[in-house]
């Protein structure tokens, strides 16, 4: 049987649903982080793998989501659902504005621009002390449902909804339009697609998905700090997508889970875990550019995007 996007998704989420019974609270929390990283990376991949635009600024959506929920719950006294709604609004506006400007270019210039706009947000978070707590960030974000395991299931549920929605979009005519633009933007324009508007749409959908993941991250950590907006986290998201494989829908999600565990293992093993991560990353990029899931997928006879 050839692998299918839906069945892969169901299988992975079924495993994740039973995981907390086997893992202790520490690993449950780590898994929850992995699920959110993975969801953020799938969101990123809507733009990268399916529309052909490399963003190096996706931390801006992740961080904006995390900060808005933290500000909503801690500073404005809003409920979690209200903060989440506010966060989607904020992320959506940020995506539309930065997307409009960044999409004046494509390829490497687009990557540079998204990176720079991400840094703009970082600079704001670092300086606007009254709102963001500057370099210390915001502490004491209440965790909905209190318990880590219960919140784990909330994260799992929301992530599943986000991923199913994204998969649905990618299988729809809109998804075909995105793929056509990735394949040959000039031809896409000539067959009649308003390429720039569709790119902006893809960028916004992508940003919102990453933003939801970030929004759920602040209550998991019960805090947020400027690191979540820094460009190296944008690069980490790109890494997750490539690690898992950008040519398979579920690839970046697995990449996010793996990233968390690689990082945890490297941090436990050596003080110089960045060095270890860097060497792993470099080796993977050179030796397995289609990613781990991409490799397995192809071996199983699945179609790569």
């Amino acid at each position: 049987m050839k692998p299918s996007d839906y069945w892969a998704l169901v299988l992975v989420f079924a495993l994740l649903a039973v995981a907390p019974a086997l893992a202790g609270p520490f690993y449950t929390r780590l898994l929850a982080t992995g699920i959110l990283y993975g969801t953020a990376a799938v969101g990123f991949n809507v733009l990268f793998g399916y529309t052909g635009l490399l963003s190096f600024g996706h931390a801006m959506f992740w961080g904006a989501g995390a900060y808005t929920v933290a500000i909503g719950m801690v500073k404005m006294g809003l409920s979690f659902p209200a903060s989440l709604a506010l966060s989607l609004l904020v992320v959506g506006v940020i995506a539309l504005v930065t997307g409009f400007l960044s999409l004046r270019h494509t390829r490497i210039y687009f990557a540079m621009l998204t990176l720079a706009f991400g840094q703009l947000l970082y600079a704001i978070a670092l300086k606007w002390r009254s709102m963001t707590g500057a370099d210390e960030g915001i502490y004491g974000v209440p965790r909905p449902l209190g318990d880590v395991v219960l919140y784990y299931y909330l994260i799992l549920g929301v992530s599943l909804v986000v991923l199913l929605a994204l998969l649905k979009i990618l299988k729809s005519p809109l998804g075909l339009a995105f793929r056509s633009i990735r394949d040959n933007p000039f031809r896409a324009e000539v067959v009649g697609y308003p390429v720039n508007r569709l790119r902006l749409l893809s960028y916004t959908i992508s940003g919102l998905a990453t933003g939801v993941a970030g929004s759920l991250y602040a209550p998991l950590q019960t805090s947020v700090n400027p690191e979540s907006l820094y460009w190296t986290f944008s690069a980490a998201i790109v890494f997750m997508a490539i690690l898992g494989g950008s040519r398979v829908f579920i690839g970046p999600f697995i990449g996010g889970l793996l990233y968390v565990f690689i990082q945890d293992t490297a941090m436990g093993a050596t003080e110089y875990w960045l060095l270890a991560t860097g060497i792993t990353l470099g080796a993977l990029i050179l030796l397995l550019p289609e990613g781990i899931v991409g490799y397995i997928w192809r071996r199983l006879g699945g179609r790569l995007e």
Binding site: H105, Y109, L120, I124, K127, T277
Partner: protein, 294 residues
């Protein structure tokens, strides 16, 4: 009350900072313009330059050792650039951008941690700058700053001469624009790419060396510098030395002025300026040639 001494001191500050930025950004832009690789680790090269300067100057204090430090930083970082180009980047010329970017990103992680291993995690600063200072009213201007500005100016002129007046510069350009023609005419394009990478890296190293004693050296200083270089290149226009100069001055002055006037916007305003330039002239101030649109 704003007095003249204060203004002159701030002007020198802004020019000093712009000089540092120009040297990083022009190196980055040069490498990208020729090899088409956007080296994210370029900032890490700048950081290494700062550390090398620190080591040289703590080992042998004095004005002569500062000169030695700058030269050593330029030469050593050029050597590191050579290793990186020949060992890593040569494998990914012409590969997709994400492969190139992630590979150079991986290099940042490695170099940052190596720096931490060698020099430790703490900030490294020097208590006194060499060559003393000049007094302007109640303010003092370090001679060191003036030297740094002179070095940056000399590199700008040098780059301009290299590409407009010398055969080597023309060979380098041809290697990027018409590689087949250049090869057919006997230009070793691989060596031209190597030379470009070393030159760009040397600029980053020297820039770090000039910055280190003033701005302190620390792991991660490169990741900040590289993003500012992007802003400079977007503002000035990709691949243009003049653009890098203009962009560096705009960013340097914006930051210096805002640090005094309204520090909250010190960094944010740089990116706002960038957004405005982008809206008005998508190719940047001096980016004459049409950049790839698709």
């Amino acid at each position: 009350m704003v007095d003249a001494g204060f203004l002159v001191a701030q002007l020198v500050n802004a020019l000093f900072y712009s000089s540092i930025l120009f040297m990083i950004a022009s190196g980055l832009s040069l490498i990208f313009g020729i090899t088409r690789i956007l080296n994210l680790a370029h900032g890490a090269f700048y950081m290494l330059g700062a550390y090398i300067m620190y080591t040289v100057m703590t080992a042998l204090p004095g004005g002569a050792s500062a000169v030695l430090g700058i030269l050593a930083a330029g030469a050593l970082v050029a050597l590191i650039g050579l290793l990186v180009e020949a060992g890593l980047l040569r494998r990914v010329y012409g590969k997709p951008e994400e492969v190139q970017l992630l590979l150079t990103f991986a290099l940042i992680l490695v170099l940052d941690d190596l720096a931490k291993m060698i020099w430790g995690p703490e900030y490294k600063s020097l208590t006194t700058l060499p060559w003393g200072s000049l007094a302007v009213g109640d303010y003092t201007i370090p001679v060191y700053h003036l030297v740094a500005i002179a070095v940056a100016l000399a590199s700008a002129v040098g780059l301009w001469l290299l590409f407009s007046r010398t055969t080597l510069g023309k060979k380098i350009r041809a290697s990027a624009s018409y590689p087949e023609v250049a090869e057919a005419l006997g230009v070793d394009t691989r060596r031209m790419f190597m030379a470009t990478f070393m030159l760009g890296s040397a600029l980053a190293g020297a820039s770090g060396a000039l910055a280190g004693p003033v701005l302190t050296a620390y792991p991660g200083m490169g990741t900040e510098a590289i993003v500012l270089s992007f802003a400079i290149i977007v503002i000035g226009g990709m691949g243009s030395i003049l653009g890098a100069l203009a962009g560096a001055l705009i960013v340097g002055f914006t930051r210096t002025v805002m640090a005094v006037v309204y520090p909250v916007l010190e960094v944010a305003l740089i990116y706002i300026v960038m957004a405005i330039v982008l809206l008005v002239k998508p190719t940047g101030l001096f980016g004459g040639r049409e950049v790839e649109r698709r």
